[in-house]
Structures are given as C-alpha cells and as structure tokens.
C-alpha cells in the first residue's frame, strides 16, 4: 500500500514537471504510455526487450559462474590469491567503456564480443564478494564434515553453499544492477537491436517519448525480476537466521 502511494506520488511529480517544462522536453506520462503501447503492438518493444534480456541472462550467468569459482578459489588458496590479485585490481578499475570498445575492436561487432564485454565488467565484483565469503567460511564446520566423511557434493550443498549464500546474493544483486547498466552501453555501441540500440535511435532523433518508453519498460522488467527472483532467493537463503528486531 505504502509502495503504491509512493509510486503515485512519483507519477504526480512527473505530471506536474511535464506541465511546467512543456511536452517538448518532458512529455507527460500519458504520451509516453501511448508510445509504449504502440511499440508493444508492433512487436518492436518485445523484440528489443527480449534481445537485451537474453544478453543480460547470458552475461550474468557466465560472470557469476566464473566469478564465484575464481572468488572461492582465491579465498581458499593463498597462492591463487597472490596470483590473481593484480589482475583483479586491474579489472576492477578498468572502465566499462574501455572493455566494450576493445572487445568490439578485437572480436568484431558480434554477439560474442558484446556478451563477453558485459561479463568481464561484472566478473571482478563477483570475485571480490565471493572471496570475502570464502574467507569467512567456518573452519570448525569443515572439520566436522571431514570427521563425518561428508562426500564432496554434500559438503558443497549443506556446508559451503549455505555459508556462501549471502555473498552470492550480494554479488548477484550488485552484479545484476551493473549488468543492467552496461548492457545498454554495449548495445548502443555495436548491436543492431536491444533497448540500448533503440535508446540510441531515440537520442539521434531527439524522440523523448520513445526514449522514455523504452527506458521505463526496461526499468519495469528489472523491478519485476528483482521482486520475483532475487528477493525470494535472499529470503529463502536466510530463513534459518533469527529475525532481526
């Protein structure tokens, strides 16, 4: 209820601002909605949304899988940490734009280049978060699992993953928001479809309703995914904790 009220307040503010600024600079919500509906009817909106979501899903999965494995390894092995740390710091501080441009130059304006560039951008934050998680693992539980001869799979599922779950959730949360941002840049620079491409078109035409229609549809999808996937996972992973007051 409170959320709805807050959302209504946002819409009202937009409406008032649109009236003051004039519809050339900031179109009212109704105009944007009309464009969004038109784009949806023609199918273009879903095509571009679908292309962007597919890239996000691939790049996110790829970077989470590799980043978690690397981070766990660096947290557990001193040698791996020493070897990997300089690379990690380099990647962490490399601007997303540099990675994307270089990827397009080296691998061409291809899908592989785009997805790899997005994944590389997200990778180091996943590594850093999971490394902290691996360092915080409880050695006394490792010993318990060893004494009772837990097989590997059982250790992973019942001893390690529950301890790493908050870190994985944090990496997923921050990583997803990073990927949402970077995917549009990658599309703007070198893809013939996707939300980022459409935003580029709208920018060149100074078509603000089109720009807002695509941006907001995209934001809506992000919100839904957060609410439907990320938050329930976090809640399930922490259900054994006593509730904070």
């Amino acid at each position: 209820m409170l959320r709805l009220l807050s959302f209504a307040l946002l819409l009202a503010t937009w409406w008032v601002a649109a009236t003051i600024a004039g519809s050339a600079k900031l179109p009212p919500p109704s105009a944007v909605l009309a464009v969004a509906v038109a784009e949806a009817k023609s199918g273009a909106l879903f095509l571009h949304l679908g292309a962007t979501l597919a890239r996000v899903a691939l790049a996110f999965t790829l970077s989470m899988a590799i980043g978690s494995a690397l981070g766990y390894w660096m947290g557990r092995s001193r040698l791996a940490n020493r070897l990997g740390d300089p690379w990690l710091i380099l990647l962490l501080n490399l601007p997303a734009l540099v990675v994307i441009v270089l990827a397009y130059i080296w691998a061409g304006l291809t899908e592989v280049a785009a997805i790899a560039a997005i994944a590389i951008n997200k990778l180091p934050t996943a590594v850093v978060t999971l490394r902290e998680g691996a360092r915080a693992l409880d050695p006394s539980l490792d010993e318990m699992a060893k004494v009772f001869a837990f097989p590997r799979g059982r250790i992973l599922r019942h001893v390690l993953l529950p301890q790493l779950a908050p870190y994985i959730a944090a990496a997923a949360r921050s990583g997803l928001s990073l990927v949402w941002k970077i995917v549009l840049v990658a599309e703007l620079l070198g893809r013939p479809n996707g939300i980022g491409f459409e935003i580029g078109v709208a920018f060149q035409l100074f078509d603000i309703p089109l720009l807002l229609a695509y941006s907001l549809s995209f934001a809506a999808v992000v919100l839904v995914i957060e609410a439907v996937l990320v938050q329930p996972f976090e809640q399930r992973a922490s259900r054994w904790r006593l509730r904070a007051a």
Binding site: S140, L141, E143, M144, K146, V147, F148, A149, F150, R154, H158, V159, P162, W240, R241, L242
Partner: protein, 236 residues
C-alpha cells in the same frame, strides 16, 4: 581392530612467533570394545591430541594407526551443528543410512523428539550438545571420540547421558575415547584411564580398571576416584 597411538611430540608456532610444545610423549593402545578415558588438567593438550586422532591434524611427530576402514564419529567440545539445517537434518546428513526407528530411539533417549524440526540457533547449549551426541550415536561408529561431551549439562542429565554412552558402547564393539576432566566420569565409564600431565602433555600413567563397567558399585567408583587422586595431585 585396535587403535595404536604413539605421538612423540607436537608443537606449533603461535601468533607471536614462539614455538609452543603441546604434547611431549603419549603412547597407548586401545582394543576394540574398550573405552579409554583421557584425564588431564585444563589446557594440557587433550583436544590437540583428539584432533590428531581424528585425522584433522597431521603435523606432528609420531604415529597413529587408525583402525582400517573404521567409521569415525566425534563429539566436539562445541556442538558444531549446521545452523541452516534442522536438528533432524543435521543428524541425517552425518548418518544417511540410519533407520527411522533407530533415529527415533536415539532422539527418545536424548529427549530431542520435540526439537526435530528446530534450527540449532533456537536451541540452548545443553540441547545442542545432545544433538551433537545424537549425531555421533546415529553414525554407528567403529571409533568414537567424545571431547568433553557432558560439560555444561546439569548433573541429572549428565548422569543419564553417561549411562546412555555406556549402553551404546556396550551395544557395539567399538573403540571409544572420552576426554573429560571429571574424575567421576572417568571412574564410572573407563576401561582404561590415561592420566596426562600439564602442558606439554605427557602420559603419566595408564590405569586399567579391572571391575567391568556394569558391575561397579558406588564403593568401587569411590575407590577408583581415590586412586586417581592419589596418583596425580595436579588434577582436580
């Protein structure tokens, strides 16, 4: 099947760079079906020794011959339960083959029936210790290590659990090693009692108890305790 222990020395380097000797000579053997009790002053290196016997620490001089293919179970000083798994899951994860009626019997004895679906964070320390005991019992081990399992339990419960340990030991031909600083536990449970010196730990004396566990009267227990106290004044 027997356990042969010969730890000549164990030391580690502490955080400030000093070498600390923890064990300076412990050798004994335990046969199948025997219950050895290790008694020694607090901080003498008993837990270090148990970690070596459990195969958790291989950085020592000497030799420990574990029984071949023996199933190991251990009750640690702290319960060491998985906080994100329920009581029942904690036990079943360690002992996947345990039969339902066997598990029910163990939970019944330890009065854990009402807590099966609770998470360890919801239990008192005494209850969590009982879960750790249930886990070790459910494994049906060949070699059981109990590192002060009765500490911080009230006297009545400790006495009952002591009887349960005795029953379990009698029910299976296994090697059991109990660490305690309670002379009473040692006198009531032990087939052989090993007295350790203060740190670095040395085996002062291995005391066989001739009267079988089930036939010890209060007088016998008192006599053993008196004997223990006479042998070593440094142990309270």
């Amino acid at each position: 099947m027997r356990l042969e222990v010969d730890i000549r020395s164990k030391s580690y380097t502490s955080a400030n760079g000093k070498r600390q000797d923890v064990i300076s000579g412990i050798a004994f053997t335990l046969e199948r079906g025997e219950l050895g009790v290790v008694v020694g002053p607090s901080g003498c290196g008993k837990s270090t020794m148990m970690r070596i016997l459990a195969g958790l620490d291989n950085d020592y001089e000497g030799r420990v011959s574990q029984p071949e293919g023996a199933r190991l179970a251990m009750v640690f000083q702290e319960p060491r339960l998985l906080p994100w798994r329920s009581v029942e899951e904690n036990v079943r994860l360690a002992a996947p083959e345990v039969a339902d009626d066997r598990l029910a019997a163990i939970f019944g004895v330890l009065e854990l029936d009402a807590h099966r679906s609770h998470f360890p964070g919801e239990l008192s320390l005494g209850l969590a210790r009982r879960v750790a005991l249930a886990r070790a019992f459910a494994v049906e081990p060949d070699f059981l290590i109990l590192d002060e399992p009765l500490a911080s339990l009230d006297d009545a419960l400790a006495a009952r659990l002591r009887d349960e340990i005795a029953t379990l030991v009698a029910s299976r031909p296994m090697i059991t090693l109990l660490v305690t600083h309670s002379m009473d536990d040692a006198a009531r449970l032990g087939d052989r009692i090993f007295l350790l010196s203060s740190r670095p730990a040395r085996l002062l004396r291995a005391m066989p108890i001739s009267v079988p566990r089930g036939e010890r009267s209060e007088e016998t227990v008192a006599a053993i305790r008196a004997d223990l106290a006479r042998r070593d004044f440094s142990v309270s």
